[in-house]
Structure formats: structure tokens, C-alpha cells
Symmetry: C2
Subunit: 366 residues, 2 copies
Amino acid sequence: MAGEQVSVQIEALKNFCVKIFQKLDVPEQDATIITDVLAAADLRGIPSHGVARLRRYVDGLRSGIMLAHPQVKTVVETPSTATIDAGAGLGQPVAYAAMKKAIEKARTVGSGFVTVRNSNHYGIAGYYAMMALPHDCIGISMTNADVLVAPTFGRNAMMGTNPIAVAAPAGNERPFVLDMATSTVPRGKLEVYDRLSKAMPLGWATDERGVSTKDAHLVLENFKKRAGGGLLPLGGEGEMFSGHKGYGLGMWVDIFCAVLSGAAYANMVYPKDADGKPLPANLGHFFGAWRLDAFRPADEFKAAMDDLQRRFKEAPRAQGQERIYIHGEKEYEATERYLAEGVPLDPKVADDLKALGKELDVTYEL
Amino acid sequence: MAGEQVSVQIEALKNFCVKIFQKLDVPEQDATIITDVLAAADLRGIPSHGVARLRRYVDGLRSGIMLAHPQVKTVVETPSTATIDAGAGLGQPVAYAAMKKAIEKARTVGSGFVTVRNSNHYGIAGYYAMMALPHDCIGISMTNADVLVAPTFGRNAMMGTNPIAVAAPAGNERPFVLDMATSTVPRGKLEVYDRLSKAMPLGWATDERGVSTKDAHLVLENFKKRAGGGLLPLGGEGEMFSGHKGYGLGMWVDIFCAVLSGAAYANMVYPKDADGKPLPANLGHFFGAWRLDAFRPADEFKAAMDDLQRRFKEAPRAQGQERIYIHGEKEYEATERYLAEGVPLDPKVADDLKALGKELDVTYEL
């Protein structure tokens, strides 16, 4: 029976997830990385990308779409760049390795960039951008994704919510962490409105004609049936509020992640064979790091970051508003709270974890 | 008397501008670069950043805010990065040199990035990103700018329209050229609505309380009086349509251009002295280049870019729509038309150019 929302200790949750992956023959080191990325999403208040997704990874490993022991190869390399073929492995371990390589290159020549092809869903983009922070680097991370977003003036979804994450260190203030889908809202937001039978604002998504609609249920059904329509890019429908900019940001991500790496792009990700059986997703990612002191002494940069943030946080607020946020601030506060009080777990997700535990003979004691 | 819209030949217009700059002691090479950037804006259909701005550069040079013979210094350098102090010179020549340096570094180590501090208005961001194209590189260019945009939940403008430009080569198709302000619309759009006494859509700009308004005239008056309010970031007011993402993109640009280079950031650009006299703007820019074949053979990349573009252009259109555009396409088409038929010049701008010609003893024969 689905009960109330529960809170769980993050370490117990992580131990459980690592064991699940190990049962599916994922090496411990990789299992630990994947779990850490999932847990980071839950800790940052982005449960859609957290352990709620464990089932999908399990399914991917079982069906052979995601390989536990992929052949990972660096196919091109220069002093400041590289391209890695992930061999249809899980997204997180190769993404982690790629970002590490980008940071190493930044340490050596000032900046470093690594693209990845033939990969899978890698979790939250922000995780990898934030890996740069302890190295006094600015980090960037992008990925393409399942086809959900319609281009400006287009009827059908042609690309993913293609997120961009940028993380920059600060001194006494918290780092700046921008982690944004290039669509106006994610699919999860439509699911919430659908559950509540609430009308969406116009400008989030389109119906099968490619026209903005308030009907979240219709859009989600159309997704399932591939009947047309999609999420709208940041800026909404048409050009009135500059939806073409969000569309352009999404295409930029697709170019850097997939065209540059040799992965599948646009609506070619998550292909199927002639019988409709899913083939490896062939997603692409892009990672980068810039060393602060390759431009300016790191302490000067951090002092200016502190001042920049304070100027915004202490600025006069719009009527009726209580607070001006810096990007990443809400997520850092969520992490602090959840580490102290436990991570909230949706009862449906908790039930599914229990079921996974039974299926794979892993004790669920959270 | 202000007459009808005129069309002028671009070469004649450029010759005139170069002579104007030379009369103000700008070296011929620099005058040619500045003029080329201004002309590129007119040719690409962005007249707000074209020769219409000539007067502002003239004023800047006359008042000493922009120096014709600045001391330009490279202050930090690594194999893939550099920071340049522009010495309060004009923005275009140092931006041109910085982007060239980024491309050279990309040729040597795979990618290159150059920040610039102590600079001035540099024209259209896209110009510099596009410099990468003939070198088989992807280019990026960003700049901070005069304070016009309010952060999400903030009452007052705290940053510029901080544009991002990304240019990527293609094969048979035209290059992808994204060149976008991170605000929903530019100030120029409000000026058009003000002239027509037309109500703006809510979500473009805020009044002195920081609340979305339809009154373009009010917003523009408030700008002049520094009375509060501002343009809204891409995504509009609050978080309903993800205005916080546009705000984050704008802050990203400020961090890369100004915090990283040591330029003025947030609302500190265009400072004034104790008597209210303008001081050098101290703007910052960021330039970068990634060599295609540092990731993948260039011909493979270009073939995939062609295919990507065709997929979008040939995709089904939303009801009532005639065409799906690729970023840069409209501007390439404008350039072709204007090169053949002459560049349209607003009569007011033509009059101002004539007046400048008289003031500086340069023949105006366009």
C-alpha cells in the first residue's frame, strides 16, 4: 500500500542503489558513481532525476540497451580536447571520467573539453559542472536527451530538453550553479498539472497541431502516441516572447553534444530496430572546464563572485517578492536540509525501490 | 528634412565611416575593423547595432571615454587562454584581436578562450563568433552591457542584455549562427512600441515597482530617470515561464565576461565620477573557439550539420506557420539581399550621418 511521504537517510539509500547495480553486474566503482549522481539529484531537490529513475536504469541494463561492461574508447585527443565513445554503457561513469579528463586538461593547458558519443541518460547536468569547483575551475556540462521539444513554428518534438549547466566557484558565498533545461518547463511539470487536473498556462506545450494548449493530459497522451506537439522551448510559442532563443539554445546543446561527438542528434536519439525493439540511445554529452587562474588570480575571481552575488541578493525586490535568488542557492539549501533531516521519498518511489529489492534480492531497510 | 527610407551601397557607407573614425585619430586598421562590425550589423538586419550607433562612438572618442590609442596589454596567458586589458579603447579592435588569438590557440591546442576587460561597446556578438567559421572552428562570443535587465524577483535593472553568440560551420547548408540577447526583448523593441503607442505584451518589461507592464513609454522614461524597473530576462516575469533561466544566462555572461576578466560587472558598468561625468565603461567580453577536428573530422561534422538543419527545415510545421528557421538563416538572407540591392538606412540615421560628415569635414555621398 502506498503510504505517506517518507524521509530516508541518504547513505542507506545509496548503499541500497549500489547493491542493485552490482546485482546487475555493474562494477562497484561505476555503481558508486551512478548512485552518487542519482543521490545528488534527490539531495538538490530534483527528485525526477533521482532514485525515482532507478527502475529505468535497471530496465536498460536488463534489456541490453545499457551495457554494464562497455568498451569505452578515446577516439580523438588534443592537449585541450577529446572525444570518447561510451560503447553504449551507462551515462554516469563515462560522464564522470570525461569531466575528470576535461579538468585535467584545464590544469595542464588552461581549459579542457570532452565530448561523449554512444552514451545513455547521465542524470543531472549540474553534477558534472560542479565537479570543476574544488579544482578552482569553472565547469560546464550539456547533454541531449529524449525527443520532447518542438522547434519554433514546428508541429512536432524534434529535440530533447537539452540542459546546460554552468558552475563557478565563489569565496565566502556559495558557488553559482546554473542547471537549466532549454525548454520552458520539463515534462514532469506537465505530469503534476495532469495529476491535479489543472489548466497549464499557455506557452508551456503544444497540441497535435503545434498550437499552445492548456491541456497537460492531452500533451502527455500525444507524447505516448507520438501524435505530435511537444514542450515549448524557453521563451514559449513563436517569437513574441523569443521562443526562438530557447530553440537556439537547445540546438546549440545538440550540436556540442551530438554533432561534435558523432552521437545521434535531433529526433534520432533512442532509435528502434525494424521490430520496434529499442536500440542503444546513442546520446551525446559535452563537458568543459576553465581554470580560474588561467584568466585571473583565483582569489580575485572569488572575491568578485562574492560581491556580485551580494549585489543581487541585497538589491531592492519587486513588489510582493521576498527574495532574489542566486542560481544554485535553493539547491544548496535543500541539500543541507535533507542531509540533516533525511531525503523525502515519494511513497510510489519507495514502493518501487522495495519491489526492485525483492526482484534482485537486495535488502531494503531505509 | 527627414525623407523616405534610402538604400545605400555598403562599400560607400563603409568608406564614409572609416574616414569619420580617422578624423578622430583612430588608426586606419582599427577604423576598418570597427566599420566592418557596424556594417555587418546593418547587413544582417540588426540596424540598432549598425551605423546608427556611429554618433555614440564619435561622442565616446570626443569625450575621452573611448581612447583612439589605448594601451592594450595581455595580462595573463596560458596555451589555451588569455586575458587582455583593452586600456579603455574602442571595443571592436580589441574584440577582433582577442577572437583571433582564441582561434590561434584553438589551432595549436584544440581550443582557445580570451577574456577582455576595460573595454567598450563591441557591436554585434555574432560578428566575432562567426570569425571562427572559415577556420573550421566553432566560435563563441559574449559581452556584458549597459544596465537594463532586472533579475527574477528584483525591482531594478542589475545587468545588461548580455548577449551570447555561437557560430558553427556547416557543409552545403549555411552555418548555424545563434546571436541572442539574454533578455526577452531588447530596448529597441520597446522604442518601436512607444513610437506606435502600442501596448506591449506582459512579460517584456517591468514598471518602477518591478511589476510587468504594457506601457513601453513608462519603462523608457523610467530608464532615463533611473526610477526602477527594467527589461525582463528570457522567460519573462517570475518563474512561471522560467524567467530565472534567462536571468541565469545573463549572470553566466557577466561572470565569463567581467568577473573572469576583471572588468566591471552587474550594475557597475558605465561608472561616473563624483560630478556625474562618465568614466570609461569598463565592459568585459569573452571569446572562444573549438577546432572541429579536435573532436571529429571536420567533413563528418559538416555533413551532420547539414543533415541536422534539413531535418528541422523539412519537419512538419505548426498550424498556420510557413517555415521553420535555422538560427542565422534570416540574417544570411538579409545580407544577400542588401548586398545586391543596397542597405536600407533610416532617414533619421542618414540625416545624422550627414551631420557627422559636416562636423568632421568628411564628404557624405552615398
